[in-house]
Amino acid sequence: MKYKPFITALILLLFTSCEEEDRLFSTPDPKACGIDFENILTETDELNILDYLYFYNGGGVAVGDINNDGLPDIYLTGNQVKNKLYLNKGNLQFEDITEQAGVQGNSSWNTAAVMGDLNNDGFLDIYTCAVVGINDFTGHNELFINNGDLTFTEASKEYGLDHDSFSSSAAFLDYDGDNDLDIYLLNHAVHTQESYGSSDLRTKRNYATGDKLLRNDGGHFTDVSEEAGIFGGVNGFGLGVSIADFNQDGYPDIYVGNDFHEDDYYYLNQGDGTFKECLKDAFAHISRFSMGNDAADLNHDGYPDIISLDMLPEEETVLKSSEGDENTQMLEMRINKLGYAPQFTRNMLQVNQKGENFTETALLSGVAATDWSWSALFADYNQDGEQDLFISNGIPKRPNDLDYIKFISNEQIRNKLNDTRLIDQKALKMMPSGNHYNYVFEGSSTMEFKDRSGEWIRKDTIISGATAIADFDNDGDLDLITNNLNRTPTLYINNASKTSSYLKISVRRENGNTHGTGTAAIAWSKGIMQYRALYPTRGFQASSEPILHFGFGQEKNLDSLLIIFPDHTFKKFKEIPLNQTLTVHWDDVSEKYNYAQYPGNANPLFTPAPDNFGLDFIHKEDDYLDFNRQKLIPYRISDRGPATAIGDLNGDGLTDLFFGSSKSHSPVFYRQSENGFQKDSLSGFNFDDKCEEVSALITDLNNDGMNDLITGNGGGDFYGRSSQLQDRILSQTSTGFNASILGETYDNTSVIAEGKDQKGKIFFTGSHTISYDFGNLPVSRVFRWNNGMMTAIDLPDNGKLGMVTDALWEDLDKDGNDDLIVVGEWMAPRVLLNKGDSFIETKFANKSLFGLWQSIASFDMDNDGDKDLVLGNWGSNSKFTASSDYPMHMYYADFDDNGRTETIVTTMKNGEEYPLESMDELAGQMVGLMRKKFHNYRDFAGSDIRKIIGSELMEKATIFTVTNLRSGWLENKEGSFVFHPFPNDLQVSPITCMLEYDFDNDGNTELLTAGNYFGVKPFQSRFDGFGGALIHDQNNIIKGSETGLDLFNKAVRHLNIVNIDKKPYLLVTNNNAASQLYTINQTLNDL
């Protein structure tokens, strides 16, 4: 009995040591390594999370070789405790030399620590940041100049760096190319004012909270923020800063992450000492509560990508009991009225599109939700040639716990209202703990990251903040150190070099920027490029060892290496043996790298047409908000317009254009003449300007030699037997147009498609939804037009084919009759074989193809001569998740029995089925059902849908299923079809339209695809980063952004070829934006 604990401990030890062996990182006891620093936080009634909003942000850590012995040393700052410096003695033994070095610091609240050689003497100096001027915090940022003998001299005043503001971090960069280190000083706001205020606040400079750019003028730093164009307002909650050359023009740029409602800042260095902030041009959405960030090239294109951390929990119980995203109306107010960028509460992975803009892929990449995250650091930890990602995590108390906010806090503070102090220690203790293990993700060539927490590192409950990368044991792979709250730091010692190859590079220069900050390295191995740049301030409140590191898997040699120094001079190396540390001397080489040749754009296939040929159509969506009426609808149905139809409507042989409109605007007809396009009326016909035309077709319906116009109406807003929902026909006669109704139908039409068979023209009108009753299937129809009369042809399921979005006529069985292939949401593609007078459904797709299909085209993907079916789906960059094993469901019923139906969408997580919506959202539609059952968020959070709704009510529901969200193609294998998903570049957004055409005039057609969609709730963010794709065949897919198309942040609805002056042009129609015409530079093919 007595020995039981001992035996248990022994067994545990055995197990632990076994496990340790298998992990990529081992975690030695820091005390055994000589590191006993602990950032102890002491909460008092005078100083806690209420008094200082960043009370839990933790200290800083800087790693660098302070005595040039080849071993990286460690400097740790404490918030309230003294800072410490540890000298690396080798073999993971460290010695506390703080006292002799004189670097313990004198500020009351320290934040970041960074290292850099500020006085150009070849020794790394230490700069620490402090928060001063609130809560009786005293002191100032301190600069410890390295004397070269393990002692330091505090000289911040002499250097003009003794800022006494609210500093959170500092980044060293040579922004003006004068061969010394300048500083971007990151400050944070303390703005407790609860209203947002206008985004213009950032332009009014404020000493204590505003960020600063400090120019190194020969040993003294000058604040040049104003002249350099750096914002310094009262609302910049700066918590993260990354330096990188995002547009690869040779000048370092800056990305700043701001907490709360302030936008992040994206400063592009203009090369003339100034910066241009252009976040909104380059980013379609950003993280909301931005914390730390990091920049690195992940996809081997030589352009640094960015991760910006937030605080979205992954775990269902925490997720559903924490405050989530704001509602749509608030978001729109912040964007449209106050001038902020779209922000959403989750990590954002911003993939650089050749310096032009960024495609955000965190959901697709699997790194969107890592809870209360502080530091992100990219590096190739397992040395397989792909960048991996470490994220530090945790907060002692979750201050956004909904039960605390709504039900607990009040009882705690009720009796304290008279005090100025509203909350005390006791109340703080009621908040749930937010300690969470650190995450580590394995990167891949597909931009998908695999969570390796628990495998590569141990899952602990320590709260970690500032993190630095270094090779502490000099074995070539990258180790990590995290500064923890109330604990010794964690050392993560990497074992990758035992089984894989590395190349470590350090840069040295005799004078000036002695450690080569800003140097870029491009390595080529087996045709794959890897890019690194040396900016040690990374992640959060920290700087890493100033080295460049590559991993190369099992390779032994590197094909080539290009080093570009900050002054654009460069060195090239060939056939370098790996597993070595290369010291590259930045000396007097004269040749400069030509950044114009940087891997990037060739001559584009598409260029914007001059003056758009007079086409000035701008679609304006109306302000109807589906989520206000059907609160649980999974996405909007009112924003699927406008219709685009092309054809000659005035008999002059030139192609005219018709665009539908949203409610409250009128549809527009553009007549083409030799002068381009002019807005015109259709021979006196007045359009009903209250309709929404979502689909339209110009065709000679009655074969009288004159084109007619069919419009398919919808819009989601009109409901019931509202005449605006009826589809229309405008028949052209010699005297003008006659309008008529295309039958008594009142659903939202999505597509009109014309086919032909042995009897002539045949038409399909597809219906998407029934307004105010999402989930009730509408009727789609097939008809012929004879003698001015419509003849309907029966369809299976009485035409209730599903929530149809697109259709294709194609003679699949080669019987001379076009068959109908229909796609839509919450359904599988359906093939209806045309037997002349009837349609017979043929099963061709297996179960796994239930999708949220948006578009369909036929195209020969595999060059085998037959047409394959290309299918545009929702994409996988979404909070919707679905597979055959873990499908997404939608339950449709009048759950609360009040005469209105609702839908509940669920996805699977760890085998359980959870609603996507929060308790408040569900209660907003079914208050009795939810609130009677759940009196707090804890009970709701983590509950399976069956528990939430109850199995009785579940049985009442119609169930819709989605098993695949990826776009792809169905390979035609002699009539049977096999599905192949597209690569991830084509899964970032819904693909809404496709156009087959021989764009490059090489005799083979290509398929141009486009998409994006914004009609989702804020918790889903928005799908805005798809720049289109030009598909030559399955193996040759060109990103739209590389073809010259600018589809970024545009919700594309239609692609058309329009002939102007006998030449083809590409017409792109967008929802709620201008239509664009592109010149197709076909001759380029000859070059």
């Binding site: 449209n336 509203l422 009040n898 539609q925």
Partner: protein, 447 residues
């Protein structure tokens, strides 16, 4: 501490009951009704009911209790025929029934069905049920049986008031293009609450628009306009009294009655919760009943009439709020006058005109004056559990006037919303007391 005392009290009762096994008549006291009301108020605070929804809960529970009393006490008339859609409740079919017991049962059960956290009411209910059952099981069971019939009757009536349907009606759509329209306000920027409350079947009034007030001064930032003048009055008042231990600030805070004040400090969020304006006036009704030494039946009568005035007051007020849809002072002042200005009270999440507190206070004061007389001096300690002091008033109407003007001091309403709101409430209150011929005392005395 309070809770412990409460349990101790129950324990004492239990012990005394168990020591005395023989059947003895149970007396239902006015105090028990007060406690039942207090329980409901506690749950409302916990569950965070908005003022209109809270007023509906009070009204139905009180009416259920009252209808049972009116069955047995000739002094009181049934509300059948006076309240929209209310049909006569089932007759008591047994002599054994204790009508007051059944009334209190109905009050607790109807309340329980309308709030969310049922356990908080069940605790009190079960403690009473135990005592009653121990004392006189036959009476208890018969009364319970009868109460259940009445409850089911009342629920059928309640179910037809369109409450259920309004839960799924569209959310309020913010129109940010029109500068006069209401917009969500800091810090929580909540949606406009209960935009369809005017569609709830009113109790006594004919329709939600019966007491439609004159329109508010037209939105204009022209310095000579009435609207601008009223905006500046709010702003200047706020600037004058802020950071001051002035009487105005004390008045504003006393009548805040905001069920959910959201506080944000960085990532830290919490809420301070108080009773609603309706619950404050229910509290005043309790004070009046106690001072008047009203018996159980009169207490139920007073609560019922007052809560009907309040509930109809909210329906009438909300009808106007989403008609005029007027922007709050905080939004206007931040946008045009001073972007740093903050009202002393947190702006509640619905349009400005008319002031809900003014309408409801006006209506409640008229009803209470009708029951307890004018010149009724009282010490209002309703807000002491929320850390606020006692204020004394010489009459209900004086209290209502102070409640109304407190919204100006609080920086959340313009003058017109207060003056016209008070007027709207008083007209409505007078209609209610005239229409609801509930009390026969005078006629009985004459006979």
């Amino acid at each position: 501490m309070k809770k412990t005392l409460f349990y101790f009290g129950i324990l004492c009762i239990l012990i005394s009951v168990s020591c005395n096994r023989e059947t003895k008549p149970v007396e239902i006291t006015a105090e028990q009704m007060h406690i039942s009301i207090d329980r409901v108020v506690d749950v409302m605070i916990h569950d965070i009911f908005s003022p209109p929804v809270a007023s509906r809960i009070f009204a139905y529970a009180n009416i259920a209790a009252y209808e049972i009393i009116a069955q047995s006490d000739p002094e009181y008339n049934s509300l059948t025929g006076m309240l929209n859609g209310l049909e006569a409740i089932p007759k008591a079919d047994s002599e054994i029934i204790n009508p007051q017991m059944a009334a209190l049962m109905a009050h607790m059960e109807i309340s329980k069905s309308l709030i969310f956290s049922e356990d908080r009411i069940e605790m009190y209910r079960d403690s009473l049920y135990n005592v009653w059952q121990q004392a006189d099981e036959t009476t208890f069971l018969a009364s319970k049986d009868y109460a259940d019939k009445v409850i089911s009757h009342m629920k059928k009536w309640m179910d037809k008031d369109n409450y259920k349907q309004t839960r799924t009606m569209p959310k309020f759509t913010v129109n940010s293009d029109d500068p006069s329209r209401w917009q969500p306000t800091p810090p929580a920027y909540m949606d406009g609450i209960e935009p369809h409350w005017m569609k709830i079947r009113p109790f006594a009034i004919d329709s939600s628009s019966q007491f439609k007030p004159v329109p508010p001064p037209g939105f204009s930032m022209d310095k000579d306009s009435k609207f601008y003048e009223e905006v500046m009055e709010v702003y200047n008042t706020g600037v004058r009294i802020v950071n001051d231990d002035s009487e105005e600030v004390a008045i504003a805070r006393f009548w805040d009655c905001n069920p959910y004040v959201s506080v944000t400090r960085g990532h830290l969020m919490f809420a301070t919760k108080k009773i609603t304006p309706g619950a404050h006036w229910i509290g005043i009704c309790k004070i009046a009943c106690r001072k008047d030494k009203a018996d159980f039946n009169k207490t139920v009568y007073a609560y019922t009439k007052t809560s009907i005035g309040i509930a109809d007051g909210f329906i009438s007020c909300w009808d106007e709020k989403y008609r005029s849809n007027l922007i709050r002072p905080e939004t206007v002042i931040n946008q045009y006058i001073d972007d740093n200005w903050k009202p002393i009270l947190q702006t509640p999440p619905f349009p400005e005109y008319t002031s809900g507190h003014s309408v409801v206070s006006g209506a409640a004061a008229i009803v209470l004056t009708d029951i307890f007389g004018d010149d009724f001096y009282f010490d209002d300690d309703t807000e002491t559990p929320y850390g606020l002091p006692v204020r004394s008033f010489s009459s209900f109407n004086k209290a209502a006037e102070e409640a109304a003007i407190s919204r100006m001091y609080g920086g959340i309403h313009y003058r017109a919303a207060i003056d016209n709101g008070l007027k709207q409430g008083r007209l409505l209150g007078n209609f209610v007391i005239k229409k609801l011929d509930m009390n026969n005392r005078e006629q009985l005395a004459e006979n």
